[in-house]
């Protein structure tokens, strides 16, 4: 592939796919999945709703209400498919783009927006959702996830851990160290790499000379590539890998082959480094359109269903917007809260001094 050729447009042969971009079901000898019509409609609903939340967040950023936003556009199937594969007891460790997984773990989208608005650096209770806080430093969370999985091992619990990261993160030392740890301790973990082809402006070729899923073999565990725009395949492959982990068979690396259809974040300008043709080619592989086509073709949903979902999405967008705008700024004293679990004399002193200083303006 030359540097300027549209990348990832032609699916490599090793890729697990259960639903074509045209909405045709295909069989796979190892990863087939039985889904009821209700389950497929439910997956479709999730895909549409998280895209709508994402769209609203981008708009809010453009209107100055969020400092920045990292869009998941194009990666909905990878996130909903893998997120829906989790049981309540499983634990997920996200990057800062896993809005779809957060949705699957019942995290209020407004809490995600709060982070990007700057009202907190996290803001939800990870234990309540078994969904860890967003991690902004690239790849750091992979080690946390492996450590957590080692804890699951020691507890003898029927659970697994999944950690999300991108193609760029596979170059990080922490991700490679996490592969080593998971391997030698046989930790119950799934490494879910969303290869969206771009690490801001750097294409995959800057990170790896081999397909990412093949990295796993060097560490001694299986790697598999799945069509990251196929929610059925992502669900099936992740479900299997999680079960293997729970059964004591150790880690799996899943490379979800997908595409970041938007910018890296709202601060980015992808027209400076990638071709419009590439985006157009990937639009034909859209993760939502293929499920819609499948539902239509198989008469599993009618026009009324799609209109209902669209209306629900619009209502969700409006709700998220109004609650985002209503988020109060934290009070100044909150700077000093939660830095330490216990009392800390220096912070107590600084808090008191600063609040006294502020009070001086109110006289």
């Amino acid at each position: 592939m030359t540097a300027d050729a549209p990348r990832g447009v032609h699916a490599p042969p090793e890729l697990v796919q259960l639903l074509t971009p045209e909405g045709e079901r295909v069989e796979h000898p190892d990863y087939d999945i039985e889904l009821t019509a209700e389950e497929v409609r439910s997956l479709y609903r999730d895909l549409v709703l998280v895209r709508r939340v994402d769209l609203e967040a981008v708009a809010l950023q453009r209107q100055g209400e969020l400092g920045i936003w990292a869009s998941l556009l194009g990666q909905e199937a990878a996130q909903i498919g893998s997120g829906r594969a989790l049981t309540d007891a499983d634990m997920a460790f996200p990057t800062y783009r896993e809005h779809g997984v957060a949705w699957c773990r019942d995290v209020d989208p407004v809490k995600l927006l709060g982070l990007f608005r700057g009202v907190s650096n996290g803001g939800w209770d990870p234990a309540e959702h078994n969904f860890h806080l967003y991690t902004i430093v690239i790849g750091s969370q992979a080690l946390h996830a492996v450590g957590y999985a080692m804890g699951i091992q020691r507890d003898g619990a029927e659970a697994a851990t999944i950690v999300y990261f991108g193609d760029g993160a596979t170059s990080q030392g922490d991700v490679n160290e996490s592969f080593i740890w998971a391997s030698v301790f046989n930790a119950p973990i799934v490494f879910f790499c969303q290869n969206n082809q771009w690490a801001i402006s750097e294409p995959l070729e800057k990170q790896s000379k081999i397909p990412l899923y093949k990295r796993a073999s060097g560490f001694g565990f299986p790697g598999i590539r799945v069509d990251g725009n196929d929610v059925f395949a992502c669900l099936a492959v992740t479900r299997r890998a999680l079960q293997n982990a729970r059964d004591g068979q150790g880690p799996t690396l899943i490379e979800a082959f997908t595409y970041r259809m938007g910018a890296h974040t709202t601060s980015d300008d992808p027209t400076r480094y990638r071709l419009a043709d590439e985006l157009e080619a990937w639009k034909l592989k859209d993760p939502i359109e293929r499920v819609k086509a499948y539902l239509f073709k198989n008469q599993l949903a009618d026009q009324e269903f799609f209109e209902k979902i669209d209306a629900e999405a619009d209502a969700l967008g409006k709700d998220v917007r109004s609650r985002c705008l209503a988020l109060p700024d934290p009070p100044p004293r909150a700077i000093f809260d939660h830095v330490y679990a216990g009392a800390h004399a220096l912070l107590d002193e600084e808090r008191e001094q600063y609040l006294t200083y502020l009070a001086g303006f109110e006289r």
Binding site: S120, N121, G122, G123, D125, P126, A127, E128, H132, L133, T135, V137, S140, A142, L143, H144, A145, V146, G147, Y148, A149, M150, G151, I152, Q153, R154, D155, G173, D174, E177, S178, I180, W181, V184, D337, H338, V339, Y340, A341, G342, H344, A345, L346, L347
Partner: protein, 324 residues
Amino acid sequence: MTTLTLAKALNEGLRRSMEDDPKVLVMGEDVGKLGGVFRVTDGLQKDFGEDRVIDTPLAESGIIGTAIGLALRGYRPVCEIQFDGFVFPAADQIITQLAKMPLRSLGTLKLPVVVRIPCGGGIGAVEHHSESPEAYFTHTAGLRVVACSNPADAYTMIQDAVRCDDPIIFFEPKRRYWDKADVDLAAPGLPLDRARTVRQGRDITLIAYGPMVKTCLEAAAAAEEDGRDIEVIDLRSLNPLDVDVLTESVTRTGRCVVAHEAPVFTGFGAELAARITERCFYSLEAPVLRVGGFSTPYPPSRLEDHYLPDLDRVLDAVDRSFAY
């Protein structure tokens, strides 16, 4: 009373912590069968098993990163960084994750992780085995930073550190590992965030922590022959800082010298000097003086006696203080 080396006191403290709480884990390079390169974890794996005393792959970021994950699952990991100069691959996990995650969670997460670091020089080691990186960590909000100086404190401080719900950088003075003292294994220790006045005096206050406490006590004993009555304070905790003990002492003596092995320039002594000056300005007869390493990388070991502040350099600073 039991006579213990500082290393053995840490070992006994860790053993007690592991007996008291099944969630306490020890992890690091060579901490298992070998018992650590300084034998601080000697025998623990034999008695508590490989699941609780974990020989890790040789990667420091991995040690701290997985310890964070274990802590998130409810464990209390005690990590050993083999030598001070090897903590830097773990600095990212310590600074960006360990120190900040509780705040990120708005207090819903606690990270009771202890990072043990043998620190300082004086053992004739090769490069990267003699450093004093405490200021990097005292500058990082969210961490507690402590340094033990003697066997009795080592025994209680390590247990207090393990019980603490905040992440702690725990410095161990490696050239004092083999120092022996009587330790009362039943006696409660001073709270972890408190400084201790280890010698009372009227004329000047010497402030030290970790390996330099012994040096300062020796300097004080030598100065006594010259008629100078030196007070010595062992900080024990660098963050938070027990500033009231320092203020009371310097207000009374009017003079202060701070000693540490780390380079003086932007070292921890700079914070002490500034804070004491702010608090004790009208009582000071001389500026707070600092004695420490030079603004150079740690030298080859044949030169370390020149780099490390010894009794004479501490007393030279005392003389300079009195010359004002």
